[in-house]
Symmetry: C2
Subunit: 123 residues, 2 copies
């Protein structure tokens, strides 16, 4: 039963302590908040409850030296949110980490893919 | 409230498809089966139920071209298990992937650690 070959996906989670982690979900949330200007909209795009999206933002805000997201309540559009310079720095370092890790590991990803029962393309 | 500095831990999960993944848990289970010669003992060491350990082994056995673990039922000690050449190859490629990814990403891990509210040592 051949399936459509998909590229293997390497997902990275960086734990600073058991309670302090940055991974694909938080990075994607930051990106979507940056684009939409809204925590609620960003969470919705990811199929996440408003509460959960807020919790992730609060966790990140407590984790780093400065907040990664600031929210502006009231105002004509209400509930806007902005990714700070700290948030953009965190995001860019995480994406660079992913990129370096994927390049460096590509050979072994290919090796593992070649061992699958239903081999996946590496390209 | 200073805490004991711990080294950031980078954990990798490689998804070949939504249902086919190798990550730290499966790798550790393979290592422990290899050492203990028992799926039950390996799972127990990881605080995992017997059923869960078996499920992970079955998932891996179905995922790769050849089984990664074979079990020998009956016999004087009963329920022994052995990691196959395929299993050892999978484990070694996964560990090599981790190692390459960690080295290549070290600079960005250090950068992210330096942004923490309660900076963690990188060494």
């Amino acid at each position: 039963m051949p399936s459509i070959p998909t590229e293997p996906k390497l997902r990275l989670r960086l734990y600073f302590s058991p309670d302090e982690m940055i991974g694909p979900g938080k990075a994607e949330l930051l990106e979507r908040i940056s684009r939409t200007g809204s925590i609620a909209a960003a969470g919705r795009e990811m199929g996440m409850s408003y509460k959960r999206a807020w919790q992730l933002v609060e966790t990140m805000n407590a984790m780093f030296r400065d907040p990664v997201v600031v929210s502006t309540r009231g105002g004509p559009r209400g509930g806007g949110a902005q990714v700070t310079d700290m948030g953009l720095k965190v995001l860019s370092e995480y994406r660079a980490l992913e990129s370096k890790a994927r390049s460096a590991g590509a050979e072994h990803v290919g090796q593992l893919a070649s061992l699958l029962n239903d081999p996946k393309s590496d390209t």
